[in-house]
């Protein structure tokens, strides 16, 4: 396959993924908007005023970046895990596997689909947040790069989960028992400066902390973590997961007998 043919194949996979999540928008795009509304009402309007300010900002403005990124993470991860596992489950993945499509194109196609959903969900949640808070942007470049890289990273995570999954139960274990706790403990609702020193150190092991803080920097210009450290961590995880996924595909793990 020459590079032009590979580009056509890549576009085919991305388009297919885009059509898939747009077709079921009630399941993919609407829930994040509703969930975020509830977060804003409960944590922002009801509890927020009692908390007061955090790092010099109203509480609701402080939590907006984390809430947006949380939905980006969930959206990109669940898009790839459900789509790839679904294709495995009903064997439609074989359409791609019997073709000359290189494995890295398959991987990039699914990941781009996940990024697309993550970014669209992020935009929807951002629009919703405008009804509840006064958003101002400190650094647009940081916002765009962090949201794209985070969506890329969690799409890769979803792909790994889908490769190993053998049943539909397996695709919900990681989001429920790993992703959600790490997201909540990643500093969406608080600054780690509030934690005792020991727990501040423990929190640094959580990669999501780096993403949320970098994203918050893009909006508010404040962060518990330095920006280069955040990009470095995100980059390391992306590189590691990309290599792992590609090796899994090349070995045919979970997809070839």
């Amino acid at each position: 396959m020459n590079s032009r043919e590979q580009l056509i194949t890549f576009a085919t996979i991305v388009t297919k993924e885009f059509i898939r999540f747009m077709r079921i928008w009630q399941q993919t795009l609407l829930p994040p908007a509703i969930t975020t509304c509830l977060y804003f009402v409960i944590f922002g309007n009801l509890i927020g005023p009692r908390i007061g300010q955090m790092d010099g900002f109203n509480y609701i403005d402080f939590i907006v970046p984390g809430l947006i990124l949380m939905q980006v993470i969930t959206g990109s991860y669940s898009n790839v895990v459900s789509s790839f596992f679904g294709a495995k489950f009903q064997h439609s993945l074989e359409e791609m596997l019997v073709s000359p499509t290189p494995n890295y194109v398959i991987l990039l196609g699914y990941i781009t689909g996940g990024v697309a959903r993550g970014v669209i969900v992020g935009l929807i949640v951002t629009v919703v947040s405008l009804f509840f808070s006064n958003l101002h942007i400190h650094n647009l470049g940081v916002l765009i790069s962090v949201v794209t890289l985070t969506a890329f990273l969690f799409s890769l995570g979803g792909f790994t989960n889908a490769v190993f999954a053998k049943s539909f139960d397996d695709i919900s274990i990681i989001p429920n028992f790993v992703l959600t706790p790490l997201t909540y403990l990643g500093g969406i609702f608080y600054s780690i400066q509030l934690l005792p020193e020991l727990w501040q150190t423990v929190s640094l092991v959580n990669p999501i902390l780096y993403m949320i803080n970098a994203f918050r920097f893009g909006f508010l210009g404040i962060s518990d973590i330095s920006l280069p450290s955040s990009y470095l961590i995100i980059g390391i995880f992306i590189a590691a997961l990309f290599v792992i996924n590609l090796r899994l595909l090349n070995h045919g793990y979970g997809v070839r007998q």
Binding site: E5, T9, T12, I13, Q90, H91, E95, P100, G252, Q257
Partner: protein, 315 residues
Amino acid sequence: MVTSTAALEIRSLCKTYQNGVKALHDIDLKVEEGEFFGLLGPNGAGKSTVIGILSSLVNKTSGTAKVFGVDIDKNFAQAKSFIGVVPQEFNFNIFETPWQILINQAGYYGIPRHVATKRASSYLTQMGLWEKRNNRSAELSGGMKRRLMIARGLVHHPRLLILDEPTAGVDIEIRRSMWNFLQKKNQDGTTIILTTHYLEEAESLCRNVAIIDEGHLIENTSMRSLLRKIDTEIFILDLEQPIKEFPKNTGLAIRLLDEYTVEVAVDRTQNLNFLYEQLSDKNIHVRSMRNKANRLEQLFINLVSQSKESGVTIE
């Protein structure tokens, strides 16, 4: 001197699954370009494993396979670009429309969109699916799904089309139209490998045939040679007049099923003229005649039984 490259050349192909099951034992197979080749065998014989290896869904344990001279170990992508696969099980996304399925499949082979749309239109029309092109595939009947799979397998214009039980569960009318379609594709130059349980189908379509049983190749020959191995054919004769008893000493193995129906076994040293002469002499008139069972079916059963009894391969 012009040498032609075989469409498929398999040497010493072995497959042992992770659970220890040996699905293929040293399979050698050659399919020439332009052939309509039958790959037969009972359930679990290893036919789908061979197809799985050629389409990269199954990793081989050892051996080599070349598609139009391209070794799958050296350039699997190019080898795969020559092959169109129509698998036994429905394996398309049931939420997608036939149109989307064909366009996507063309896309996976790097075919530009404007070419893909022309081909999708053509194959959906030829397969009688044009009216259903925008329906969800889940809504198609079994026969339509089979035809959709064939259209999908052809959309990138493969030189080698592999069909794994393409007419399973399809009514006779559609089956016949599929046969005509496949024969035409073959005449147009597409090499076809067909696995089927309908031996009548193999007999009608295939010029050469291989039989696999328990992972061993037990026969690989032309259909004509294979049929020559049939020792005895059993015919059912429907008589014009009722008879109480069939005359003895005819030299034929005859059994009266009822007063209008006779079963006659004709071995290969005899011919049908001999049979009719005997019947005319006795003033017995035949209204119609048919095979008791498909003759290839009986031979197939015999070959598989021999292979199981001897425990060795018959080459």
